[in-house]
């Protein structure tokens, strides 16, 4: 299993080059900050939710959302491009290492990118919303969320047949999840029948857990769902890598 | 007719072309031969108004590409190195757009498309989308497109790169056919045998300069008639001789692994660019 390190290192070397281009820092920041201004200051200015002001409600949701998109998108599109365009995935497959090692290396790299982007949003949050604070439960949720969506990224990266496919998954899976899973407003505001559907999304449970300050029964259920998703995604992703054939 | 005087181009501090001059007469096939990075593509891109030049003059059928850009552009057709067809459009649609860009009326375009697809043996593919065509077919379509507006000059950038021998030969056949029908052809290549087989005149380009220019036969006879290949220190070396007898006696003095053969354009190229294999 110790072949994961070079895979992780490779992704980090690539990430380092992107990071210094500065464009990355902005693109990881621009969208969440725009959402923060538009919805936090513009639309929901005078709209209290669940006993706090809207912006304090919004920030944990934005953190969950950007940890999801960043851990997921990078892994999915990098694997897709490496497999289909740059062919660098061949190099990993032809190396004498266990397929699990590839999975672990890619997932850890995805998590790092997700956590990095989350920390940027948390910093912004601490600046603009004085009531917003951090504790151990949201931190744990965040890590679990990054792991889960990095695994999902591997799955999508392995099954897509072209780069356009990736954006289809993005449009029909990630985008609706970002909007409906309790990022911008509590799920209870959606119509009844949709609420059941929304309860299937993993991000819904992240949003429940990340807003809790202490564990309760609802929190435990959410945690159990997230762990179940994480395990399933991890093993399914590993299987796809093991079965890889051109 | 193409006339080029003292063409220069720099990319940053590096000179891609330094003072290239040549002229190509009507109905001639002129091959521009050189290693990757010698400036072949830069030259053809300047001649076809795709790239700026830093100095020098280019005239296509007496139109200066700077003073009369639109007229100069009407004189030529270009077959680019990389396929630049619209992959979502059909063969016919690609040609139609090209015709309209060259101000032809739709009736003439339709007639020319028919004629050219027939000429290039593509008639049965006129409705196919480009993404369904193979590399060889795309190359033939690129040639058809370049000929659509009946240009008198045809530029071809590496017309057979990446194609297998059988397809390459068929493209060569088409090139000769086009010349016989009255066009001037300027092509770049790094396949020596392509230049040897096709060209009336060959220019050797090395590091942005033309180092030799002549007919293939003259270039070859300049260095000798016979060549001996031998392995020296595990490197392939070649010696040249004016008669077979001299070559033969040279072989007798060497140990194993010698081949005697006729001198070809590749020998001339290596001899003149002076580039040893390091």
């Amino acid at each position: 299993m110790n072949g994961w390190y070079p895979i992780f290192l490779r992704e980090m070397l690539l990430f380092k080059r992107k990071l210094f281009k500065l464009g990355y820092l902005f693109s990881a920041m621009v969208v969440p900050v725009i959402y923060l201004i538009t919805f936090g200051l513009g639309v929901g200015r005078s709209m209290p939710i669940e006993g706090t002001d809207y912006i304090t409600f919004l920030i944990p949701g934005l953190v969950a959302m950007s940890s999801m998109t960043n851990s997921y998108t990078w892994v999915a599109s990098a694997l897709n491009l490496n497999r289909l365009y740059f062919k660098t995935f061949q190099v990993l497959v032809q190396a004498p290492i266990n397929p699990f090692a590839i999975m672990i290396g890619e997932v850890l790299a995805g998590m790092t990118k997700g956590l990095f982007a989350s920390i940027l949003i948390i910093t912004v949050g601490l600046l603009v919303a004085p009531q917003f604070h951090l504790s151990w439960l949201p931190a744990l949720t965040l890590i679990l969320n990054c792991f889960l969506f990095a695994c999902l990224g591997v799955i999508v990266g392995m099954i897509t047949k072209s780069h356009e496919d990736t954006s289809t998954y993005n449009n029909f899976l990630i985008m609706p999840m970002s909007f409906f899973s309790g990022t911008f407003f509590p799920v209870s505001r959606m119509p009844e029948f949709l609420q059941k559907l929304i309860a299937i999304f993993p991000l819904t449970h992240t949003n429940i857990l990340i807003r809790k300050s202490a564990m309760d029964s609802q929190g435990l259920l959410a945690l159990a769902v997230l762990i179940a998703y994480a395990i399933v995604f991890f093993f399914f992703g590993s299987r796809l890598i093991r079965k890889y054939s051109e | 007719m193409i006339s080029v005087t003292d063409l220069t181009r720099k990319f940053g501090a590096k000179a891609a072309l330094s003072g290239v001059s040549f002229s190509v007469g009507a109905k001639e096939i002129y091959a521009y031969l050189g290693p990757n990075g010698a400036g072949k593509t830069t030259t053809i891109r300047i001649l076809t108004s795709l790239t700026r030049r830093d100095g020098g003059m280019v005239r296509l059928n007496s139109f200066d590409i700077e003073k009369n850009p639109l007229e100069a552009k009407s004189q030529f057709g270009l077959v680019p190195q990389q396929t630049n067809l619209d992959s979502d459009l059909s063969v016919e649609e690609n040609l139609l757009i090209h015709g309209l860009l060259h101000h032809m009326d739709r009736k003439t375009i339709r007639r020319k498309i028919e004629e050219l697809l027939d000429y290039m043996e593509l008639s049965d593919r006129r409705q196919s989308l480009i993404k369904t065509l193979s590399g060889g077919l795309k190359r033939r379509l690129l040639i058809s497109r370049a000929l659509l507006h009946s240009p008198r000059i045809l530029f071809m950038d590496e017309p057979t790169v990446g194609l297998d021998p059988a397809i390459r030969r068929s493209i060569w056949g088409f090139i000769k056919k086009i010349r016989n029908d009255g066009a001037t052809i300027f092509l770049t290549t790094h396949y020596i045998e392509e230049a040897e087989f096709l060209a009336d005149h060959v220019a050797f380009l090395d590091a942005g300069k033309i180092v030799a220019e002549d007919s293939p036969a003259n270039l070859v006879s300049g260095i000798g008639q016979w060549a001996v290949d031998y392995l020296d220190d595990n490197r392939l070396q070649t010696a040249f001789f004016n008669s077979r007898e001299k070559a033969g006696s040279y072989v007798l003095n060497r140990a194993n692994g010698c081949t005697v053969r006729r001198v070809n354009l590749e020998d001339a190229f290596i001899a003149m660019t002076g580039r040893k294999i390091s």
Binding site: R10, R17, K87, Q94 | N36, L163, A166, K176, N234
Partner: protein, 281 residues
């Protein structure tokens, strides 16, 4: 040592399957340079992909150094070096970083020294910290070869190693391949440059539409089609070849033709065109 028996590979959906490799078998002794020739799309790259664990054959077996590729892929991966047709280096990493990641993946010992040595061999030491996307095509190809040789594999696979390169660099790469053979390596390459196969290979396989239609030494292949060739141009300027068994036969036939006729020994290109047919798709 490489041996393949009855390799079959199909692609596409169940109702429209297309057989890309159709029962290919061969056996190579250690230290052989084997050239796989064939038109574009004949299945050459697919054969290489199956031998290098990238692609699973639908039927048949490959052995490398006596080890079954499908059963023990990990053992195979330790023994082979692969130079793919398309550059699969990380374009945004430097030459040294590319080799470093590869070396770590393959657990190469004394990695820094080995990387320096490999970069020296392909004359890229000066460029070690340059990002690969700034490399020319020839430099990228050299780096791919350095990478494949970094683990000192017993078997080297090269898929179209010199496509699109100019004559000087091509010959430089030939030298590297010859050195590999002298080091006792088995080398398998695909190419559609006939002169490359002629210059390098001890054994030639010609693949057409997924089948191996000829497999022998270049010398024997020439004997099979005929050792003499008459070249002459037809009225369109196309070069036409007639292949003859003996010199006498060639002279006999040449006499009946217009001028501009050359008689020469046959070469691999004649073999190729003769066996694959001068078909245009």
């Amino acid at each position: 040592m490489i041996s393949a028996s009855g390799l079959i590979k199909r692609y596409g959906p169940a109702d429209n399957r297309c057989t890309v490799v159709d029962g290919v078998s061969f056996h190579l002794a250690p230290g052989t340079v084997f050239g796989l020739l064939g038109p574009n799309g004949a299945g050459k790259s697919t054969i290489i992909r199956m031998l290098t664990t990238l692609s699973r054959p639908d039927a048949g077996q490959c052995l490398i150094d006596g080890i079954d590729v499908a059963a023990q892929p990990m053992e195979i991966k330790k023994r082979i070096g692969v130079v793919p047709q398309e550059n699969n280096l990380d374009r945004e990493l430097s030459a040294r970083e590319n080799l470093m990641i590869y070396g770590m993946l393959h657990r190469v010992v004394h990695l820094p020294e080995r990387i320096s040595a490999a970069l020296e061999v392909v004359s890229l030491w000066e460029k070690r910290d340059t990002v690969v996307s700034h490399f020319s095509g020839g430099m990228q190809r050299r780096l791919l070869i350095a990478r494949a040789l970094l683990t000192e594999p017993t078997v080297l696979f090269l898929d179209e190693p010199t496509i699109g390169l100019d004559p000087q660099i091509r010959r430089q790469l030939w030298d590297v391949i010859r050195k590999s053979r002298r080091a006792g390596r088995t080398v398998m390459l695909t190419t559609h440059y006939i002169e490359e196969a002629e210059a390098l290979c001890d054994m030639i396989g010609i693949v057409v539409a997924g089948r191996m239609i000829a497999l022998d030494s270049p010398e024997n292949l020439r004997k099979i089609i005929g050792e003499y060739v008459i070249d002459f141009p037809d009225e369109y300027g196309n070069q036409i070849q007639i292949i003859c068994r003996t010199r006498e036969e060639a002279h006999e036939k040449a006499r009946a033709l217009p001028n501009g006729v050359t008689i020469r020994r046959s070469n691999l290109e004649d073999v190729f065109i003769n066996l694959t047919g001068e078909k245009i798709e």
